[in-house]
């Protein structure tokens, strides 16, 4: 009896926990590298919150190498709600049945320019999906922030893996 109860309890807990996680996909997939100590200097063109700018870039307005980094991102939101009338009268709602899903797609792009021409572009796309239920909700603000940081980190790794090429670009001709 107690074993049966335990297995039920574990199943129900698993059901609840499944609904709590945020599903994140990022493209391209790169190996996470912590504490990147490399910095590439140049002029930075970016209008948004500094927190979301790849930290590997260092501002040097009067760069001899003439490198310019232009960073832009776009956020697209999606929402799929179970109709309120359905959720209201569905007895499973109280047991954590989904009441909707929020999605956020973040597309980040870093252009490396020299002499007014784009030499190389680094792109990253992050898709976040969060199922909502009575016990677990995440705001679009949270999803956006998580996605922008993931895109920033991804582009940082891409630049780091390309550091030899970028250093050569920086070298005066």
């Amino acid at each position: 009896m107690s074993r049966q109860f335990l297995s039920w309890a574990i199943s129900i807990s698993f059901f609840f926990l499944c609904g709590c996680a945020t599903n994140m996909k990022i493209d391209p997939q790169v190996t996470q590298i912590d504490n990147i100590d490399f910095r590439i200097k140049g002029k930075i063109v970016y209008e948004g919150n500094k927190e979301y700018l790849p930290r590997i870039l260092a501002e040097e307005p009067a760069s001899n190498a003439g490198l310019t980094f232009e960073y832009t991102y776009d956020v697209i939101y999606g929402k799929h709600d179970v109709p309120s009338a359905v959720a209201l009268f569905n007895p499973l709602t109280i047991a954590g049945f989904p009441t909707g899903e929020n999605t956020a797609t973040i597309i980040g792009k870093l252009d490396v320019m020299k002499g007014g021409e784009v030499i190389k572009s680094y792109n990253a796309t992050c898709i976040l999906e969060k199922t909502q239920n009575l016990f677990s909700e995440r705001t679009f603000t949270d999803l956006r922030r998580q996605g922008l940081l993931a895109v920033r980190n991804n582009i940082e790794v891409q630049i780091y893996l390309d550091k030899n090429y970028l250093e050569k670009l920086r070298a005066p001709e």
Partner: protein
């Protein structure tokens, strides 16, 4: 005969009460008009809530960048002149809902709000919608005012 009259009068009373309850949360005010002149250093954010019988009596305060700006009622909308850059809009009853906009000068933005199912009370829901969708949906909403113009 007397019993039937009694039941009928009770039924009418209940219907009137339900009607009054639903109407109590409905917005009144002028119909939607788009803002023509947007200050150079700002953008216009329309925050609207299409009329719906679900959660009609629930209203909640809308908070912009940490400041309470206006209660959002069923079928209402209001205009917020947003500073450039990041702007966060939120509302809370038993849970918090929030969206963040990257505001660019002279642009129009639309935030749709609604009420979702909650444990004890309806929960606010905010979504950023494209301008073409927002313009259609806001058409039947009633203006509740403007905020942060100066």
């Amino acid at each position: 005969m007397k019993t039937r009259r009694f039941v009928l009068s009770k039924l009418i009373l209940v219907l009137l009460l339900v009607g009054l309850f639903l109407l109590s949360g409905c917005a009144t005010g002028p119909k939607f008009t788009k803002i023509d002149v947007i200050p150079e250093d700002k953008a216009v954010v329309y925050i609207y809530r299409p009329a719906s019988p679900i959660g009609a009596a629930v209203s909640y305060q809308v908070i912009a960048n940490g400041t309470h700006i206006m209660p959002m009622v069923n079928g209402g909308y209001f205009v917020y002149y947003a500073k450039l850059g990041e702007n966060e809009f939120s509302a809370a009853t038993e849970t918090l809902s929030s969206v963040t906009l990257d505001v660019k000068p002279g642009q129009n933005y639309y935030i749709k709000s609604s009420v979702g199912v909650g444990m004890f009370v309806g929960r606010p829901r905010f979504t950023i919608v494209p301008a073409d969708v927002g313009e259609k949906e806001i058409a039947d909403c009633k203006c509740q005012g403007e905020r942060n113009k100066k």
